[in-house]
């Protein structure tokens, strides 16, 4: 009877003291009989400190507090007990003040001796413990998730899972922490996603008491005070000799150079972080393959994380092709198998929340993309997923300001400034058009019309028009309708996918859109026009660079046209152009560009 079919395991238990001569230890348990037989088997004496069941967060809070004070004084059991009683009272009073926990128990009672032995304890088989140990290694999971992980591997433990986990925790092999914990001052924080700002105090029907819950990581399973998280760090495996030393790829000179630098970074192991700063469409993923192979070779597990699910789907076959199908596990929110273990894990950043000190190398793709950009939970998760001395490689065309500043000091930035076809990046043309008016979108400036006709007549190219707000899409699309087959498309559009498909198949000439299509879109012949490019809340430097990066990605049309049209020329517009120029200059100087394509 170990399987509560649905619902979550709610930890409610006790705080106890064990001692052997002058060795005092404190523990918390949901099943005192279990700990009693564990410790008495090792010659310890056992005493419950609080008979009233505590919720996990409270028990853990007291345990931490008491353990601190226990380190000061170790004399007779009676004296220790007296000290602890005082500490418990103080701790509970503090909790009551800090959290309003009103049901906090206040009595210090020892249960009658012998009653502990009566509880049913089913000792799990060593093989079963080994399975659990192996499955949990490098992960931080709820009991229910571990259950699912074991089931996925076809394992059905006989003993109650929480009991086996308690035994592993007692022997120090895993750690048990409350999903929402309390810091020494009694303030709550979420151990699952790391946030401490907005936890809600609710009355919990599962444990019958007040509980803190975290709504930030809710979509990954409810984190609350009475729910345990089990964590076990993963170690380095033995050297993996089966790994091909270098997946054979034809790299361009620019890529070869960058790949060698990344490989050297992984091999040196002296620095933790490295940024691969690539031009849009330069093929940064392939460049990381060499570094991944180097890490795998020395026995590290590698995580390739990206914020976007589509990237996982698209990249999985490529990685499997390069490293062998058995070596790669791909997972995202919708995947059915979430717990397979492989040397190389390809996952969305959300899935990183279930890993604990496991990866020797984390490759983080598109750190600046939604939802990673604004989500501290994902940063926390990715950081926790790597080993204490694990390395991290950021891959992006548009790194955040802070990261660049930090890594520039350390000298760990690798540039990949040229595209595979060897033509320079199209530089944007900046224009100020007074006629632009957000309230009158139908007054399209002559510049926009000129751009469309140039694209149609001269370049025979399709045009993507970017606007800063969803509300503008329809108005601008209507205003441009005179210049051919035009459609507007935004995130909320129910026909979004159909319109995109039509644009891809060249049935549409012009597509008006928001920053929705800022990345991940590669089309043959395309020009880009940004209207209201001066709206800096939307069109910051990185967004503009990404947008300009849609153009000239293929060999058949490597030039392309990019116009930024604003009511004025904003600093971001100038900075974006400067950044693109910088990359072209660097590429030209290093000799990555075709001769004659760029004037120094």
């Amino acid at each position: 009877m170990n399987r509560a079919p649905r619902g979550t395991f709610c930890w409610s238990g006790q705080l106890y003291l064990v001692w052997k001569e002058a060795d005092f230890k404190l523990g918390i348990t949901h099943k005192p009989g279990l700990d009693f037989s564990f410790w008495t088997g090792r010659g310890y004496q056992f005493k419950t400190l609080l008979a009233t069941p505590l919720s996990l967060a409270t028990a853990y809070f007291l345990w931490e507090r008491l353990t601190r004070s226990l380190s000061f004084l170790r004399t007779s059991p009676a004296e220790v007990e007296l000290l602890l009683a005082g500490e418990i009272k103080k701790g509970l009073r503090l909790l009551k003040l800090a959290t309003g926990f009103s049901k906090a128990p206040e009595t210090l009672l020892a249960p009658p001796a012998g009653s502990l032995l009566a509880t049913d304890v089913c000792w799990p088989a060593p093989a079963e413990l080994e399975n659990i140990r192996r499955t949990l290694s490098g992960r931080i999971l709820y009991r229910e998730e571990l259950d699912a992980a074991l089931a996925e591997m076809g394992l059905r433990p006989l003993a109650p899972l929480e009991d086996s986990l308690q035994i592993l925790a007692l022997s120090g092999e895993i750690t048990l922490i409350p999903a929402v914990g309390l810091n020494p001052r009694g303030e709550p924080f979420c151990n699952r996603c790391g946030q401490a700002g907005s936890l809600k105090l609710v009355s919990c029907a599962a444990c019958g008491g007040p509980c803190f819950i975290c709504e930030e990581c809710l979509s990954m399973g409810l984190s609350r005070s009475c729910r345990p998280l089990y964590a076990s760090p993963g170690g380095r495996a033995v050297v993996n000799s089966k790994m091909p030393p270098d997946p054979g790829f034809k790299l361009t000179p620019a890529q070869t150079h960058a790949a060698a630098e990344l490989k050297a970074f992984v091999r040196r192991r002296s620095k933790r972080e490295c940024l691969l700063w690539a031009a849009c469409g330069a093929g940064k993923t392939e460049v990381a393959f060499g570094a991944i192979a180097t890490a795998l070779e020395r026995g590290d597990e590698v995580l390739y994380a990206t914020p976007r699910r589509e990237v996982v789907r698209e990249l999985a076959p490529r990685l499997r092709g390069a490293f062998g199908p058995e070596q790669v596990a791909a997972l995202h929110g919708g995947s059915t198998s979430k717990f397979r273990r492989a040397p190389l894990t390809l996952a969305t950043t959300h899935q990183a929340i279930r890993y604990f000190r496991r990866f020797g190398l984390v490759v983080l793709d598109e750190i600046d993309a939604f939802p990673f950009r604004q989500n501290p939970m994902l940063h926390y998760a990715v950081d926790r997923a790597r080993l204490e001395d694990g390395q991290i490689i950021y891959l992006t065309a548009t790194p955040p300001e802070g990261l660049v500043r930090r890594l520039r000091r350390q000298g760990e930035i690798v540039y990949l400034p040229a595209r595979h076809h060897g033509y320079p990046l199209p530089e944007p043309y900046l224009l100020a058009a007074r006629k632009l008016d957000a309230r009158r979108p139908w007054l399209v400036p002559g510049e926009a019309e000129a751009f469309l006709s140039l694209s149609r007549e001269e370049d025979k190219a399709q045009v993507l028009v970017f606007v800063p707000a969803v509300e503008m899409v329809a108005g601008i699309a209507a205003a441009l309708a005179g210049s051919g087959r035009v459609a507007g498309c935004s995130a909320a559009d129910p026909e979004r996918d159909e319109k995109l498909a039509a644009f891809r198949h060249r049935q549409l000439e012009v597509l008006v859109t928001t920053t929705l299509l800022e990345r991940g879109l590669t089309l043959e012949r395309i020009n880009v026009l940004v209207l209201f490019a001066d709206v800096e809340e939307i069109f910051d430097v990185n967004t503009l660079v990404q947008i300009a990066g849609r153009v000239g990605r293929t060999l058949s049309y490597p030039h392309g046209r990019v116009w930024f049209v604003g009511r004025r020329i904003s600093p971001a517009m100038t900075a974006a152009r400067a950044r693109i120029r910088e990359f072209n200059l660097l590429a030209a100087r290093r000799g990555y560009l075709r001769p004659g394509t760029y004037k120094l």
Binding site: A205, L218, M220, L222, P307, R309, G333, G334, P371, A492
Partner: protein
């Protein structure tokens, strides 16, 4: 700390996280919610919605002047009337599922406010005296860690200034999934599932029963029957969302796989 006080968090829409400009919901979610009134008219009794444009439409649909639905005509429900803030579709359905199955409890506030608006606008509710949430069976409560109806009743009560009586009605057992059953079969399944623990509280008084979704009205009917038998003067029902009456509502329910008591797997982001 001081910064927090001086710069309060920008209010964002609980449904879609866009800025609200001081309102409970953002403009586009409000527009989406107001939109149904043009498309559907409620049955004056059970409040379930029927698409307008067919013969049931008479007068102002939002006021419930449509015709009584076939189900209520066949057998009048024991409650006086039931109303909801909208159909169990789109944004409202997503919000309820996030609230109930994911456990996003902060949604109780805005959803409660939506119900309060319905109560204020619908004159025929009169003045309810006792607020009673539809209970969950103890095992289900333990599993979910909260009763969604009770949280909704709590926030509704806070707006109306009424105390929630969460311990008047209790659920003895949880019925198995009701998907694919007729109303009569559902009612038969539910018979005896509820019990009134404190008849004193409701004797001779007007009761307002609160739940998240009214699908066929079987649960609400059974609760109302038990409450009336225990001496309540009258029972009216308020829910966040309500079902839509189709020509063949049973088939529609099966097709939609909708049942208010059975959790569906919720897929993770990322």
């Amino acid at each position: 700390m001081l910064f927090k006080l001086l710069a309060p968090r920008r209010q964002i829409c609980p449904f879609c996280a866009r800025p609200t400009g001081g309102q409970t919901l953002c403009a586009s979610c409000r527009a989406l919610l107001a939109d149904w009134k043009k498309k559907y008219a409620p049955c004056p009794r059970c409040g379930r919605l029927k698409a307008v444009g067919d013969r049931t439409r008479r007068g102002d649909p939002a006021a419930g002047n449509g015709r009584i639905c076939p189900q209520c005509r066949e057998e009048s429900p024991p409650f006086r009337l039931a109303r909801a803030a909208g159909p169990y579709l789109g944004v409202l359905k997503e919000a309820i599922q996030d609230f109930k199955y994911n456990g996003r409890r902060s949604l109780a506030g805005p959803l409660g406010k939506l119900m309060a608006e319905v109560l204020v606008h619908e004159k025929s509710f009169g003045r309810p005296e006792v607020l009673i949430p539809v209970p969950l069976a103890p095992a289900r409560l333990q599993e979910r860690a909260f009763n969604q109806a009770e949280l909704l009743a709590g926030s509704l009560g806070a707006v109306l200034g009424l105390k929630v009586q969460g311990d008047v009605l209790s659920r003895v057992w949880e019925t198995p999934p009701q998907v694919g059953l007729t109303r009569r079969e559902r009612l038969a399944n539910l018979r005896g599932a509820f019990r009134v623990l404190k008849p004193v509280v409701i004797r001779g008084r007007g009761v307002l029963l609160v739940d998240d979704v009214l699908t066929t009205g079987a649960t609400a009917s059974e609760c109302a029957r038990v409450l009336l038998a225990a001496g309540a003067r009258e029972v009216s029902v308020i829910t966040v969302a309500t079902g839509i009456i189709e020509e063949n509502f049973r088939a529609a329910l099966i097709a939609a796989g909708e049942d208010s008591t059975w959790p569906k797997p919720v897929s993770e982001p990322g």
